[in-house]
Amino acid sequence: MNLLPMLVFGLLVVLGTGGTILERDPFAKLISLSLIAAGVIPFVVDRGYLDVAIALALIVPLSTFFLLMACRRDRT
């Protein structure tokens, strides 16, 4: 991969980490976690592991659903 895309996807991972740690609302934390996934998946694709990328893209929403089950209980 070239230098600029590498820097930008690394920036996305760092931004997502900062957002997940600093935000106080659980929903904003989940949105920042999705930003981390957006930064990691291009690195997986760049190494050529397309099967791993497909599996990750389908599994990440599943774990978000499981976390949302707890969020719904937490709010009410």
């Binding site: 949105i31 990328a53 709010r75």
Partner: protein
């Protein structure tokens, strides 16, 4: 600079802009459109990084997955507000 490299540069710059806007927005629900822009840009750039037939399925799976995720987050947020 070939058209592929120019397109990759555009996608990557838009992804960085959208990622920064997601963090700067204060309202939780209004973060979701910027996250959608970011996932558009990332889905476009993973196709441009590695052109291979399986990449179409990878990009579509990533895009549909993140859309489902936004849908679930927004629906749960709306339901939580209404029950209070």
């Amino acid at each position: 600079m070939t058209p592929e490299e120019a397109a990759l540069t555009v996608c990557v710059v838009v992804a960085a802009y959208a990622g920064i806007r997601v963090l700067l927005e204060r309202n939780t629900v209004k973060k979701l459109p910027f996250l959608n822009v970011c996932s558009f840009a990332v889905a476009g750039s993973i196709v441009l990084i590695l052109p291979h037939p399986l990449t179409i399925i990878a990009a579509a799976a990533y895009f549909i997955g993140t859309t489902l995720e936004s849908n679930a987050i927004a629906s749960t947020y709306a339901g939580g507000i209404r029950e209070e």
